[in-house]
């Protein structure tokens, strides 16, 4: 079984099936509706891209949301100026986010560790504040950039495509809202996953891991590490740009809040929650956080009372009273507890949990001894 899973194509095929079947298997969990599915796929791409930088090189960027925001703005401008088709928007966003990442990366990568993190955070916060103030002609500030009927849309105009009634983005006539939008995002996710896998398995990926384990040693052996780190930074910026473009494609509105530092922190949480340095982990983490944000936050007193209506009334009141701070507005609390538990008991994220479970089944009672060896967080995790 383990050997079988080591084959990349098999992993990719399983991943593709699981992702494409999400509308079916997430239905019983209450998450099988297009908007959330799209978010799973989009933030999956974002986290997988972030993992190329953080998981492989160990550079912790606290400003990745800036690239997501830049990607969104680029995509909406493409919808406004070029065409409502998503293909030019996606390409433009990746290019713009990549260029932006190259500039920021070039400056930030002069430092490492906490200084690098602070620099990226500063840049992201700067972009966020610029989007609200000086750059409002480009970003439309707080209101957000929207697609309007009066926009030029040069390519659509040349081809004689006229958006009638409602302005919805499309892929050669297929509307990008609802399930078709999800399948487009899912296809992008699978492609992104494939590239991430190729990068991890390549000599280039090995270089990145070498940067993480000991950058000094690597420079002593004659490698200049910075071009490698910069390449990783730009690649992960492009992933973020793609995610931003897809956010805009499924919902043609770009707001500056996408660039806020909380959004940057979120992708860090996703990656650590799922397992930094693993292939599937970041996607898993993204899914869990988005699930909490959208499903847990919607439970209200009424829903809880309904769920526990089978209990006697006094017991129902107690149970609802205990649970209600953790759902609805309090979903952050639940997420925080889960995150703490995972960081304390499973430093390698959920993927480490699965690995331990797997080991438990394959080698019976040997589990505890091996667990000790695997637990220190600082150790680089094997790409799974």
């Amino acid at each position: 079984m383990a050997k079988f899973l080591r084959n990349d194509l098999v992993v990719l095929a399983i991943f593709a099936v699981v992702v494409l079947a999400m509308p079916i298997w997430l239905q019983p969990l209450g998450a099988g509706y297009p908007d959330l599915l799209q978010r799973f796929a989009i933030y999956g791409i974002f986290a997988i891209g972030f993992n190329i930088l953080f998981g492989l090189t160990g550079y912790l960027s606290f400003g990745h949301a800036a690239f997501l925001g830049v990607g969104s703005y680029a995509a909406v401008w493409s919808f406004k100026l070029l065409s409502l088709n998503v293909i030019p928007a996606v390409m433009l966003s990746i290019v713009v986010a990549g260029l932006f990442a190259a500039v920021i990366g070039f400056i930030c990568l002069r430092r490492s560790g906490i200084y690098f993190s602070i620099l990226t955070l500063a840049f992201a916060q700067m972009s966020y504040n610029l989007a609200y103030s000086v750059l409002t002609p480009i970003t439309n500030g707080e209101t957000g950039l929207r697609v309007l009927r009066a926009d030029p849309r040069v390519i659509d105009g040349m081809l004689g495509v006229d958006a009638k009634g409602v302005l919805v983005t499309d892929l050669f006539g297929i509307s990008m809202s609802g399930y078709s939008g999800f399948y487009f995002c899912a296809a992008m996710l699978i492609i992104g996953f494939f590239f991430a896998m190729r990068i991890m398995r390549s000599p280039f990926g090995m270089m990145l891991k070498a940067i993480k384990s000991n950058q000094n040693r690597m420079s002593y052996t004659g490698f200049n590490t910075r071009p490698y780190a910069l390449a990783a930074f730009v690649i992960s910026g492009m992933y973020a740009g793609l995610a931003g473009a897809l956010l805009a494609a499924t919902d043609p509105l770009a707001g500056a809040e996408r660039m806020q530092w909380t959004a940057s922190g979120e992708v860090v949480l996703m990656t650590i929650l799922g397992g930094a340095g693993t292939l599937v982990g970041p996607f898993l983490g993204a899914g869990i956080i988005k699930y909490f944000e959208n499903i847990f936050s919607a439970f209200n007193q009424q829903a809880l009372n309904q769920a526990f209506s089978f209990l006697p009334e006094w017991l129902q009141d107690i149970v609802v009273g205990v649970i209600s701070p953790f759902v609805g507005e309090g979903w952050h609390l639940t997420l925080g507890v889960v995150f703490m538990l995972i960081v304390i008991f499973l430093p390698g994220g959920l993927m480490e949990g699965f690995r331990r479970l797997g080991r438990l089944f394959t080698s019976g009672g040997n589990g505890p001894d091996r667990r000790k060896a695997a637990s220190p967080a600082a150790q680089p995790q094997a790409a799974e």
């Binding site: 509706y33 409602v166 996408r258 919607a298």
Partner: protein
């Protein structure tokens, strides 16, 4: 470890059960779509309908959001024939019977907009796609209202705006599926200007601090236009980010600008902070150009007045509704809201409550939940007894027209809720305008 295994299997069982239920009910969905006029989230033969209430529960407008949610819950109660009926007893003309809507019980789901367009749209999409709401409502930020209103049009689900005051909501960004009961910045300017002239004279120099989004922009523009028509000059207009918290860096320049009136185009916690800081900086005690310095807050609410405390005394502004009004509708609403929650409702609560009732009433009038018919029932609907006197939903831009209140921070409040004093009730005819001045188009009935 065995504990974990048990947990998984139990969850598995629940999943299986839910899946079976989903599969079991799936054919019903298809069969009922087969014969009815097709539209999204058709309740069909279901015994209940769901409404979505999408309000800010976090952020600069959270206080308003909490009060809106209270009002929605009360409206649902009254629609289902529980409680004392509230405005159902005073509304004229009325098609509602107090047995739900078209005989179906009303249920609701809630969401948090976080005062962010992105989050609001995600939350609204969840309500529409997952919970199957037939109508959704909410507000407190015009940016959010405009963003979800266009979503409403794309999805074909009616959106009843809550508190949104930007001219754009029913102006250049109006939509066929969006309706606004609240007044707008243009009306505020029109109503406020004569009172400003009376109290402050015709030669003033104004300095604007403006929340940097659609509402702030349009309010600044409207107030500028109507004060400049009085002969006032506008010294400067500075944009401030929403939710800034600290406004001292924006207020210091006002002191040396030569202006003698500060106009705060802020709302919610932003207004509380900027006003409090402006007063702390001694602006109101200053004499500029031989006149005493004044502060104006064009859009007022009791919740904000509560937050700003004694700083609001004597400050002028406008409001959509105030609980101290003495007409039948206002009295009935204040009474049932007070009985339920122990304090009077805010204007945000009032508009949200009224919007829910108006939607339900339109469904009864149309005899169906089919959105194009409900929209036609609402367009041009004239009603009374809802707290603002005779009101009309103008068909051309889905904006309600009614009288506007000019209010002043109460100098001698008799209770901790008695914070606003109504200076003038400006009749509808003085604030009405031609819908063409803002441009925009409503779009199609059928999507």
């Amino acid at each position: 470890m065995s504990g974990i295994k048990d947990g998984v299997s139990r969850r598995g069982l629940m999943k299986g059960g839910a899946a079976a239920a989903a599969i079991g009910t799936a054919p019903l969905v298809f069969s009922r779509r087969a014969w009815a006029e097709k539209f999204r989230n058709d309740p069909g033969n279901a015994k209940s309908i769901k409404l979505g209430f999408n309000v800010p529960q976090t952020g600069a407008y959270a206080d308003e959001g909490a009060d809106e949610l209270r009002a929605y819950k009360l409206a649902v109660k009254h629609l289902n024939g529980e409680g004392d009926g509230g405005l159902l007893t005073t509304m004229k003309p009325k098609s509602l019977k107090g047995n739900g809507v078209l005989g179906k019980k009303v249920e609701y789901v809630t969401g948090d907009t976080q005062t962010k367009s992105d989050a609001a749209r995600a939350s609204a999409k969840r309500m529409i796609e997952k919970d199957g709401v037939i109508m959704f409502s909410g507000g407190s930020s015009s940016g959010v209202a405009i963003a979800v209103q266009s979503l409403a049009q794309e999805m074909g689900v009616i959106f009843m705006c809550g508190l949104t005051h930007s001219n754009d909501t029913t102006g250049k960004d109006k939509r066929r599926y969006g309706f606004r009961h609240f007044f707008n910045a243009y009306m505020s300017g029109k109503a406020l200007a004569p009172v400003l002239k009376e109290t402050m004279g015709g030669e003033r120099k104004a300095y604007h601090l403006t929340a940097d989004y659609t509402w702030g922009w349009t309010q600044e523009e409207s107030i500028k236009n109507s004060t400049e028509a009085l002969g006032w000059k506008t010294v400067k207009a500075v944009r401030t980010p929403l939710g800034a918290g600290d406004f001292s860096q924006y207020i210091t320049p006002v002191l040396n600008s030569g202006a003698d009136v500060l106009i705060l185009n802020h709302y919610g916690k932003d207004m509380v902070n900027s006003l409090t800081q402006a007063v702390q900086f001694g602006l109101r005690d200053k004499q500029v150009n031989g006149k005493s310095f004044e502060i104006v807050v064009p859009l007022y609410s009791r919740l904000m007045a509560q937050g700003a405390g004694k700083n609001i005394k004597g400050i002028l502004g406008t409001t959509n509704w105030n609980w101290s009004l003495k007409d039948e509708g206002s009295k009935a609403f204040v009474k049932s809201f007070g009985q339920e929650y122990g304090f009077p409702p805010s204007q945000a609560a009032h508009t949200c409550y009224v919007q829910t009732l108006l939607y339900a009433n339109a469904c009864e009038m149309a005899g169906t939940f089919y959105p194009p018919e409900v929209i036609k029932a609402l367009e041009g609907f004239k009603f009374d007894g809802m707290g603002n006197g005779p009101t009309e939903y103008r068909a051309a831009d889905h904006q309600c027209f009614k009288s506007v209140l000019v209010v002043k921070g109460n100098e001698k409040p008799t209770s901790k809720f008695d914070l606003l004093e109504v200076v003038k009730e400006v009749p509808r005819s003085e604030v009405e305008y031609d819908p063409k001045i803002f441009g925009g188009e409503l779009g199609p009935y059928k999507v």
